[in-house]
């Protein structure tokens, strides 16, 4: 162990050691827990207690904990002595004992006390009536899992017949217990192999340690048995093993069972196929099997061929995400994913109209066709395939080329099947069309993939027909609001793509036509009686403006439509979500209308000033929080983008907004106000050219101090400081933190590095009653109180000198630390937990700690 490591451990041990206060409380707690007359503590408390013991024992393998606190062993003894302990206490005891026995010394100590055998051995709860309770079995498994971290524990388990118990628990009726048992076996097997083998294992010289031998034998036997549940358990175990352990010996193990597993793919009698995909996927991720030479990949290929499309789908998508994988396996995986899409395309189009996605010679479509023609499987197969394709398309680096154009055609066919717009050209097509009509799940999944596809190249020839499909969805009154939202998302993505730089004349005309149609339908949707539709329409508009506001065609189409006027109307919508979205949309619209150089606003009921006034009115009078939050966010956005300068005096604007928001009841609005202040401060400082601003010219110290002075005066005039200092004491902590950050930032501006020390003179001179009051108030206020009413004690927040002094003298750094400390640091402490347990059993009269 290096010096640094031992130092770290020593520090950790010290940090997480038991405090004397806790040591005093612990016996009482243990006694209470073991007392059957006391009401059982709630499970959360017991869990927290176990967490604490885990922390206590993690860095301290010594026996001290149990020796110094005999109450712990007494607790175990007394629980064991109880004729009928409650299952939750027994489970707790099992897990506690496991945690304690995780180190060899403490294990020995507990062994000497004869406790472990009575807990985990044949004579323990294992053979009592309490074993019927799943929580007891779960405690037993958890206890053993914690304990088996050293040889004596492993021997204790293997020699005492514990392994057989775990084998049985694999098939436990409680899924939690069964899964924990499976994980425990993985742990025991790994631990046994890694701690007990002296030389590397190989297929020729395969001398498994005794415990591992038992487990491997069990796996082999189960795999060969005719019981589906046994096979399933072993496959689960192997899946867990290959997922968590990447050591070379796993390959040796694999070679012992590979043949058996291969047979599952082809044997119809064994229903284990559904487990195989997951197993193979976990193996594929393990570097042990990534060797392209091995027979493993042949097995994967065979699985992709033999499993049903639904079973093989997750394996296929997993394989395609792998970095190291033979190309032919990738192609096979791709075939699995594309086959349903291919089938759709063939069913939808005339023979020979389009080449399918796949070469017919490599794929046999009969299975997929039969799945797609069945009402029960069609939608689920398609949704799964589409979800997988979306996953693939979201990858930046795809190691295979997807036939994007055909994929798009197939997606369009699905969408048209779903809205009944496609006359199928084949009997299969008629069947699929009948099943898919009005299927919302498939529509949503297909639109997701369509959106993801917009980022891929090679579909330009289909743009016209693609927008026909999308517009049909946007226009149709039968489109459900959720599908409409997805259709909007896909449309916006494709519109953004359309506006690429390399546009020919004809493409431009096409784009103009599409935009015209889109705004026509948007116009109608903005008047929809369903608020969800109005809301998603506004969000759609905002996204479009965000990405396309620099494009001439877009601006022209938008401004020549009725959309801007209708959007402004929605600022008065009765639904608050819609008002909020309208605020955001109008805010973005302003970038094109009022803030654009040419500003060609036509026919709007609002002009620039009216819009600002309208938004300010919403900020001060709207009864709901969402629209007000939206307004403050838009104002901040405007300020950040430098648009407010054209409005009027930015300073006055900010000042007015701050006065509106500082008394807002919604903390997020106030937080938005602080954000606005932050942007304003940095903009002002930047504009006035303080040297800390990287883009500003370097100025001499003299000019710098003048500018400091100027910016300070601006901030004072804008009444920033009152808001900032008051926010320090805000009952919602994020505001205090944010205000403190801003003030610290201002301090560093006005007192550049080292100048506070230089200006000790300021601190030495008495700060005056008002600043002293501020300091005092802040010290108290940061704990609980709210800031008293303005100017109550003569602090003039608009006086630059006082504020300069305040920045220098108020201990902002300490405040910062205090605000950032977790508010429940007191309540989270182990003392508090112990007291809490004692309180619930009524042994402590005075309960000082507040536990929430």
């Amino acid at each position: 162990m290096s010096l640094r490591e031992s130092w770290f451990i020593a520090r950790a041990r010290h940090r997480f050691a038991m405090t004397p206060e806790c040591a005093l409380l612990l016996p009482g707690v243990c006694a209470a827990l073991a007392d059957p007359r006391q009401p059982c503590s709630d499970d959360t408390c017991l869990e927290k207690l176990l967490d604490w013991f885990r922390v206590l024992t993690r860095f301290d393998p010594t026996v001290n904990l149990v020796q110094d606190n005999p109450c712990l062993t007494e607790l175990i003894t007394s629980v064991l002595a109880l004729p009928e302990p409650s299952p939750s206490i027994l489970s707790f005891t099992l897990r506690l004992a496991g945690i304690l026995a995780a180190s060899e010394t403490r294990f020995q100590h507990l062994q000497q006390e004869q406790l472990l055998l009575r807990l985990f051995g044949r004579d323990g709860p294992l053979n009592s009536a309490l074993w019927e309770d799943a929580s007891v079995r779960s405690g037993w498994v958890a206890g053993v899992h914690s304990m088996v971290h050293h040889q004596p524990a492993l021997r204790f388990l293997c020699n005492g017949g514990g392994i057989d118990v775990i084998f049985t628990l694999q098939g436990d009726p409680s899924l939690f217990v069964a899964s924990a048992a499976s994980q425990l076996l993985v742990h025991v097997l790994t631990f046994s192999v890694e701690s007990e083998t002296t030389k590397p294992l190989s297929t020729t010289d395969c001398d498994w340690p005794a415990c591992a031998q038992m487990i491997i034998k069990h796996i082999e036997d189960s795999l060969q048995s005719s019981s589906a549940s046994h096979i399933e358990q072993s496959l689960k175990l192997l899946t867990g093993l290959f997922d968590s352990c990447r050591a070379m010996w796993t390959k040796v193990l694999w070679l012992c069972i590979a043949k058996q597993i291969k047979s599952f793919l082809t044997e119809e009698t064994v229903q284990a196929q559904h487990m195989l995909a997951n197993l193979l996927l976990k193996m594929a991720w393990s570097p042990v099997f990534s060797d392209t030479e091995g027979s493993f990949w042949a097995l994967v290929t065979s699985a992709l061929e033999h499993l049903t499309p639904v079973q093989a789908g997750p394996l296929a998508v997993g394989v395609l995400r792998l970095y190291k994988c033979p190309q032919d396996v990738r192609m096979q995986a791709l075939t699995v994913l594309l086959q349903p899409m291919d089938c759709i395309l063939r069913a939808a189009s005339q023979p020979l109209e389009y080449a399918g996605l796949l070469d017919e010679s490599v794929s046999d479509p009969t299975t997929v066709e039969s799945l797609l023609s069945s009402k029960s499987s069609c939608a689920s197969l398609l949704c799964q395939t589409l979800a997988h394709l979306e996953q693939l398309l979201s990858l930046i680096h795809l190691h295979v080329d997807l036939p994007y154009a055909s994929l798009l055609r197939s997606l369009m066919a699905i969408l048209q099947f779903c809205n009944g717009f496609l006359s199928p050209a084949s009997p299969l097509g008629s069947t699929i069309s009948r099943i898919l009509i009005n299927c919302l799940r498939v529509q949503k999944s297909a639109l997701d993939v369509l959106a993801a596809l917009s980022e891929r190249k090679g579909c330009d020839a289909l743009i016209g027909s693609l927008f026909d499909v999308l517009l049909a969805y946007l226009e149709s009154p039968n489109t459900s609001p959720t599908v409409l939202k997805k259709a909007f998302q896909a449309t916006s993505k494709w519109l953004v793509r359309l506006q690429g730089p390399s546009c020919s004349n004809s493409q431009r005309q096409q784009t103009e036509k599409i935009l015209e149609d889109v705004f026509l339908v948007l116009q109608k949707r903005l008047c929809s009686p369903s608020w969800e539709v109005r809301d998603s329409s506004l969000e759609f508009l905002t996204v479009l403006i965000k990405y396309l506001r620099d494009q001439d065609e877009f601006r022209q189409s938008l401004l020549s439509s009725e959309v801007p006027r209708l959007t402004e109307n929605l600022l008065e919508d009765p639904e608050s979500y819609v008002r909020a979205s309208a605020v955001t949309a109008v805010g973005h619209l302003a970038f094109i209308t009022y803030f654009a150089p040419e500003s060609p606003v036509v026919g709007s009921q609002y002009n620039k000033e009216n819009t600002v006034a309208k938004l300010q009115e919403i900020l001060s009078t709207d009864s709901e929080g969402f629209p007000r939050r939206a307004v403050i966010n838009i104002f901040t956005k405007w300020l950040r983008q430098g648009c407010t300068g054209q409005l009027e005096d930015t300073e006055q604007f900010v000042s007015r907004v701050i006065q509106i928001v500082e008394h807002d009841l919604d903390w997020e609005v106030r937080l938005g106000g602080l954000e606005l202040v932050e942007v304003f401060c940095s903009k002002t400082i930047c504009q006035l050219g303080h040297p800390t601003c990287p883009y500003a010219p370097v100025l001499s110290t003299v000019t710098s101090s003048i500018h400091q002075n100027e910016s300070l005066q601006i901030f004072c005039r804008a009444k920033l400081f009152g808001f900032l200092f008051r926010s320090l004491c805000d009952c919602d902590k994020p505001l205090g933190q944010r205000a403190c950050d801003i003030l610290l930032c201002l301090k560093s501006n006005f007192y550049p590095f080292g100048t506070v020390e230089d200006s000790q003179g300021i601190e030495d001179s008495p700060p005056g009653p008002s600043i002293a009051w501020l300091q005092r108030t802040l010290r108290q206020g940061s704990l609980a109180q709210n800031f008293p009413t303005e100017g109550g004690n003569g602090v003039d927040f608009q006086d630059p000198e006082s504020m300069m002094l305040a920045l220098g003298t108020v201990g902002l750094e300490d405040l910062h630390d205090e605000l950032n400390r977790c508010s429940d640091h007191v309540e989270k402490s182990p003392q508090s937990l112990l007291r809490d347990i004692l309180a619930t059993v009524g042994t402590v009269e005075e309960n000082e700690a507040d536990c929430y």
Partner: protein, 658 residues
């Protein structure tokens, strides 16, 4: 059981069911699509319409130019609009016993049937159906009568002439049967034949069948009908809806176990979901009004308009349309709005509960109170003083051929700011608009049809499981314009039987049982004899008395007393003469024992032969044969009656009597 199909229109049905000696007409719908071939009737002289050129044949003949006018490539009859009646020749309609009406849209042909065919029966309908049906008829008569036409075109109907006309006139069916609108006295006479019924009320028809109306969920008072006897059940489903709009929900459970289910009146626009269409309606309305345009909604004075007004009530404030006036113009507007509020028991549960609160069931009352919705009997009078634009006008008729809507089409058609929104699904909106072309105003088609769609039908059929389904042929194939939509047809097993206009269907159901009552005194006299465990038999001798399709077994009359006087009673003439009853025999004759018995009684030369059906016992000396078979025994001997009687008695010893 036979079904006579008198109408080819699937949502305006008129069928006659012959079932157990009753003749029941199911609905009496009037196909008004024929009016689309006529020019509109303008309330105010329309220079445009009066200047339309007469139609000239290809060869230049102008003999039809007074009757037919041409407008934007379409030819219209310049005459009073006429309607296509249900088939009247298929069976003698005077034999119809009753007419069952399912909703107010399906009774518009009633005066033609009750007043012109010698009909003497009764019509059954619910109260809202009658009241609202009367309003619809009143509006129809009023709209047509107030614009008298000087001429009446008939030349074009001549078969030879019709052949020369352009489509669709050329293809119009049975134009010779088209009739002008009825008059108010005829309406009143027809309605006086209606007897009001309530949901689930059982009505006996001549003791043969029982008919019961059930709520169908489509309109105020709309019903489906159950027609049943003791052993047969026919359900008539017409215009039903599962959506939660204003009427009472549909009663599906009572339709279970039908032998035959006649299914008509499904949605006419299966691809349009009513919710989406209402959204579309509101969006287009708001968009037009915000742009300063007027909105025209051609509609019936009752039905969907209530739901539309309710949606608008919720929508107008949110859409900032509070200041836009809504006008409802119809001669029956006031009655329609008021009637809807008083039919509490026919409304959905939600609205029923409002009756007990100090608020009316429909919110249009509030719209009227707050002056947002104003109603007028016609465009003349008060309306012209109050009229402000932009506004929204609801008025009839949806065919755009008569009613106040004609005026607004002429008034607003020239401006692209205005919009006409079609909500009624009964007429093709393009055909309706044809005589107004070229038209600048925007047209939006949002048909709102709340009747069952095919998915709902398939669920309904799975639920109620009728043995046979009978429906119009249109429902057994995809719509002609969307032949790939195989989901838009009825899919059930066995496949439905389809009918078309003027067809007679023999329904595939055979009657097998009839219920007969036994009088208590007669039942008392029966003595059942157990012949097998669990099966007892008794002979019944009684008189079968049949009256009003009810069958009763009564005690037979006592044997006639010797006449006390010489006068014979008249009553005894009717009673069949009653002979003493012979007992019925059962059991089988064991041949061996029978032979032994014969021998005991002195027949020594008994021979037995086996035959295919039994045995022959031969008494050689007496030259007598006894033929014993499973269900008969014959004694054949030559004129020796004492011997036959003796042998008969021996045979009877082996049989049970009761």
């Amino acid at each position: 059981m036979k079904l006579y199909c008198l109408s080819g229109h699937p949502t305006l049905p008129c069928n006659v069911l012959k079932f157990k000696s009753t003749t029941i007409m199911l609905d009496c719908g009037l196909d008004m699509t024929s009016t689309l071939n006529f020019l509109p009737l303008p309330l105010v002289q329309s220079p445009r319409l009066s200047k339309l050129p007469g139609w000239v044949l290809k060869d230049g003949s102008t003999f039809l130019d007074k009757e037919l006018k041409e407008c934007s490539g379409h030819v219209f009859v310049d005459s009073v609009p006429e309607f296509c009646l249900p088939e009247t020749e298929l069976l003698d309609l005077s034999t119809v016993d009753v007419i069952l009406i399912s909703n107010y849209h399906c009774m518009m042909a009633l005066p033609y049937i009750t007043e012109y065919t010698g009909f003497t029966g009764t019509v059954y309908a619910t109260e809202p159906t009658v009241q609202i049906g009367r309003l619809l008829m009143e509006e129809l008569v009023n709209s047509i009568e107030r614009v008298p036409k000087a001429q009446s075109a008939s030349m074009w109907k001549n078969k030879e002439v019709q052949r020369l006309l352009p489509a669709p006139l050329k293809d119009a069916v049975e134009v010779s049967m088209w009739r002008k609108c009825y008059t108010m006295p005829e309406v009143n006479a027809a309605l006086s034949k209606i007897q009001l019924v309530g949901y689930s009320q059982k009505i006996e028809l001549f003791g043969a069948v029982q008919v019961t109306p059930l709520s169908s969920g489509y309109a105020l008072g709309s019903s489906n009908w159950i027609i049943q006897s003791h052993y047969e059940k026919v359900s008539y489903v017409s215009g039903s809806s599962l959506l939660t709009t204003h009427p009472q929900p549909m009663d599906q459970a009572s339709l279970k176990n039908s032998d035959v289910l006649i299914l008509t009146g499904l949605t006419q626009i299966p691809t349009a979901n009513p919710d989406g269409m209402v959204g579309e309606f509101c969006s287009n309305l708001a968009m037009t009004v915000r742009n300063g345009g007027n909105v025209l909604v051609p509609c019936y004075p009752s039905g969907v308009i209530y739901d539309l007004l309710e949606c608008l009530y919720q929508y107008i404030d949110s859409a900032g349309l509070s200041n836009v006036p809504f006008y409802f113009i119809s001669p029956v507007a006031n009655s329609s709005l008021e009637f809807s509020q008083i039919f509490a028991e026919w409304l959905c549960h939600n609205k029923q509960t409002k009756v007990y609160l100090p608020e009316p069931p429909f919110p249009h009352a509030e719209l009227i109170q707050t002056n947002k919705l104003k109603h007028y009997p016609s465009i003349h009078g008060d309306f012209s003083n109050d009229f402000k634009q932009p506004c929204v006008v609801f008025t009839g008729h949806p065919s755009l051929r008569f009613g106040d809507v004609v005026h607004f089409m002429e008034l607003w058609g020239k401006s692209s700011l205005n919009t006409v929104i079609f909500t009624e699904p009964d007429f093709s909106y393009l055909d309706a608009l044809a005589p107004y072309q070229p038209l600048a105003m925007k047209c939006v088609y949002c048909p709102i049809d709340t009747r069952l769609n095919f998915i709902q039908v398939s669920k309904l059929l799975k639920e109620v499981q009728p043995l046979h389904v009978v429906c119009p042929e249109q429902y057994t194939q995809p719509p002609p314009t969307q032949s790939h939509r195989t989901d838009l047809m009825i899919d059930c097993q066995p496949p439905p039987m389809s009918y078309r206009r003027a067809e007679v269907l023999t329904l595939p159901y055979k009657r097998r049982y009839e219920k007969i009552e036994i009088m208590p005194e007669l039942a008392d006299s029966l003595v059942p004899l157990e012949i097998k465990p669990g099966i007892s038999l008794a002979t019944v001798s009684a008189v079968l008395h049949t009256k009003d399709n009810k069958h009763v077994l009564q005690l037979p009359p006592k044997p006639p007393q010797p006449p006390t006087s010489k006068k014979r009673k008249r009553v005894s003439d009717d009673v069949p003469e009653c002979k003493p009853l012979k007992p019925l025999l059962s059991g089988s004759i064991p041949v061996d024992q029978f032979v032994q018995t014969l021998e005991k009684h002195g027949f020594s030369d008994v021979k037995v032969e086996d035959t295919a059906k039994g045995h022959i016992v031969l008494l050689q000396e007496a030259e007598t044969l006894i033929q014993i078979e499973e269900d008969s025994t014959h004694i054949i001997c030559d004129n020796d009656e004492p011997l036959r009687v003796k042998l008969r008695d021996l045979v009877l010893k082996f049989l049970q009597k009761f």
